[in-house]
Each structure stands twice: as structure tokens, then as C-alpha cells.
Amino acid sequence: MTVDHRYQHLQVVRSSLATATYPLQYLAHLPSAISEIFSENLASRSNLLSDNEKLREQALFNQAKLQRLALLEQENARLRQLLGSPIQTSNEQVLIAEILSVDLHPFRQLITINKGKRQGVYDGQPLVAAKGIIGQVVEVYPMHSTALLISDPNHALLAETNRSNLRALLVGSGKTDRVELKNVSLSADIRIGDLLHTSGLDGRYPPNYPIAEVTTINHRPGEAFLHVEARPLADLDTIREVLLLWTNPVDDQLPEASSQDDNKPNSVNKSTEPSGSQETP
């Protein structure tokens, strides 16, 4: 057990055992997959038509938003150029993965997805759903992989509020509809309804992806920090499909930034803020 915990030697054993049990997992997943296929195939014509119309409208909206986003990105790049700070290129690639509907562990928030090493999945890869970040890959096998949701008590990431750029550690609670912000000082500028997005500083998640919305802020007398809870934007227990993200390593040219005025990176941050909030609605 110690060897497994500390070293990589047993990875082969684990990987081969996992591949051997993958058919079983797939078998357990089949009933729900079949019922989904049936409900798709047996949908009525009028339903399909209305769905189609809705999706077309949505596509139109999204396209309009994207136009603005492209404009803002350009403007952002120009402003950054003016300030002489490096432009963050975000060449992102995505791949859709399906979540197998199997329960792995009663006390941990793990999911199995049907993409593995063969499709280029790597350890620590971020997963995104339609509404926000949902977790990261923790085990990669040849055909499938296991991912940890952000609501797992052992998961933490560095989040940032949209409104005040306050950074704090976002830790899972064990419940799929709740995550907690740790070590928020009493005087911190945080309100109910604040949107949290990834800061990109944890080295795992790319910056500016929405995660959660602050739902409660409590101060328990005698405690040094605020007790802040948030609700993940993605419905962690009902999602079926997720996006695997490949991001080019963002060149963090810290030495350059620190050689300039300390204020400059900050002001750049503020100018990017609108673009961040445009992405989220």
C-alpha cells in the first residue's frame, strides 16, 4: 500500500487490472445508455422540431456572443501590447468524453470517462462541462480514465472572484451541490452571488473558466476566517458528457513582469475582467 501511495511502480498492475474490469464497468453502464438511446429514438416529431428550433436560437445567441468575445480578445491583446506585457495565447483543444454511469465510491466523488491514454488524456487534465469546470483526471488507463470532481473533499483549486479578483482556495465538501472557500479573511470583499472562476495559478486549470457561485457567507464568532460556501455551476450529479481540455502551457514570464512596475500587471488584470465576465453568462 505504501509503495502504491508513494511510488509509481505499481502503475502497471493497476492499469492492467483496471483495463480488465473496464468491460464490467461498461456493462453496468449499458442499461442507462440503452434507455437514453431509446428516449432519443422514440422522441416525437414535434419535440424534435421544437428542440431543433431552440438549439438554432441558442446557436445564434452564442454566435453573437462569440463575435463580441473575439472583439474583446483583440482589444485585450492590443492593450496588453501597449502595456508591453506578454500576450497569453490560449490555444485550447477539446474532446468530448462520455461519463459512464457507474458508482465508484460512496465517500469520494469519482467519475469514469470513456477516453483514455489512447486519446491522449493525461494525468491532471481539466474537465469542463457546459456551465463550468467540473474536475480533473486522476488516473489514466489505456481505454478509460477516472476523474476527481471539484466537490470531492480532497480536491482543491485556486479560485478567483469575478467582481473583486479575490483569490482563495476552493475545496470540495463531499456533497455535489456545495464547495467551500477556505481562509477568506473577515475584511475580504466578497458577496453572495459572486461568481468564482479559475485563476490559472494552480498550474492545473486554465484561467477564466467559471466554477461556482457564492451562496452563503457566515461568520462564526471566534473564528478567524469567513465561512463561505458556493454552488458549482455545472450540475455535477446529472452531467452525461464532459469536455477534456488541452491547453498550451501558458508562458508565465514572471521575471519580466516583476522587472516592470508592479502596478502594471494588476491594471492589465482589471482590463481583462470584462472579457472574463462576458464568457460566463
Partner: protein, 169 residues
């Protein structure tokens, strides 16, 4: 003579099939999705089968195969390798130790016994979780012992029927 040998061989392969089939079903029951509130109460199907087989046919399922099945559960649950294997082997050992006595108990007393011998396995597992800092932090952690005890009589009855109809080794 040759006929008898052939018959025995068939019996052996049949036993293999039944064993593997039963464990496949138990694994499916272990990972099949159920409502979130019911998740902590899921009986330990695989372990129950290990106990059953090690009680009825100790020459087929023993400590070694329990260890192997435990490794499989480790991988399925994303736990440390050998975390469940240790508990499974321990449970198999206890049930082999006591099977002659327990087999003659009435079913409800057997169920109690099951709840008792699940506790060492769960304690070992909890200990490993504690060392890793993955404490379940809830009393529901112990509920599989109870639900497994409730599930035991049904497993016993079903498996006895299977064993009799398929005429195993």
C-alpha cells in the same frame, strides 16, 4: 473409469463458470448506479459472495482468491492497491476458520455473524482512509455491515438454489 473422469472434468468447468458468473453479477451490483442517498448503504456484494463461497466450498475460494478480488475492488474504487484486498483476505480467513460452526446456525444468526465479520474489514479500510486523510466523517460508513447482514439470507437462499441445480464440485 474414463467416463467418470470426464464427468468430473465437466463438473469442474461448470463450477468455474458458476463462480465467475456469480462474481461478475456481484461486481455489477457493486458499481451499478443507485440514487445518491442510497449509495453509502450499498451492501458489500462481492465480499458477501466471498464469504459464501469460502464457507461452502473452501477448496475453491480461499484467502488467496479473496485477496485477488480485493485488488479488483481497489482498482474499481480508485483506492490504494491492497486496501480492500487486506480486508477481504482477513474476512475470508475468519469465515474459513468458523464455517463449520456457522453453517449450522439458523439464517438470522448467520446474518448477525456476517455483520460481525465485516467489521474487521471495514476497520482496516477505515484505518487506511484515515492515514491518507480521506476520512468518511460520517456514521453511515458503517452501514454496509448492517445492509450486508440484511442481504445475507437472500444471497444464501439464492446461491444454495444455484449450487443445487447446477450440481457443483
Amino acid at each position: 473409469m474414463a467416463h467418470k473422469k470426464l464427468h468430473n472434468m465437466r463438473k469442474t468447468t461448470r463450477t468455474y463458470y458458476v463462480l465467475i458468473g456469480s462474481f461478475v453479477i456481484a461486481t455489477l451490483l457493486t458499481i451499478i448506479p443507485i440514487p445518491v442517498w442510497a449509495e453509502p448503504f450499498r451492501p458489500e456484494w462481492i465480499l458477501l459472495l466471498v464469504i459464501y463461497w469460502s464457507m461452502t466450498t473452501p477448496r475453491w475460494i480461499g484467502v488467496g482468491s479473496a485477496w485477488g478480488l480485493g485488488l479488483m475492488v481497489d482498482v474499481l474504487r480508485g483506492a490504494l492497491l491492497a486496501q480492500h484486498a487486506l480486508g477481504f483476505a482477513l474476512t475470508a480467513f475468519i469465515s474459513i476458520r468458523f464455517y463449520q460452526r456457522v453453517r449450522s446456525y439458523p439464517l438470522h444468526q448467520q446474518a448477525l455473524f456476517i455483520a460481525m465479520i465485516l467489521l474487521p474489514h471495514m476497520s482496516v479500510s477505515l484505518w487506511v482512509y484515515g492515514v491518507l486523510g480521506q476520512d468518511p466523517e460520517s456514521w453511515t460508513y458503517w452501514s454496509p455491515a448492517l445492509t450486508s447482514a440484511i442481504a445475507w439470507p437472500w444471497i444464501y437462499i439464492v446461491m444454495r438454489a444455484v449450487r443445487r441445480t447446477s450440481d457443483l464440485d
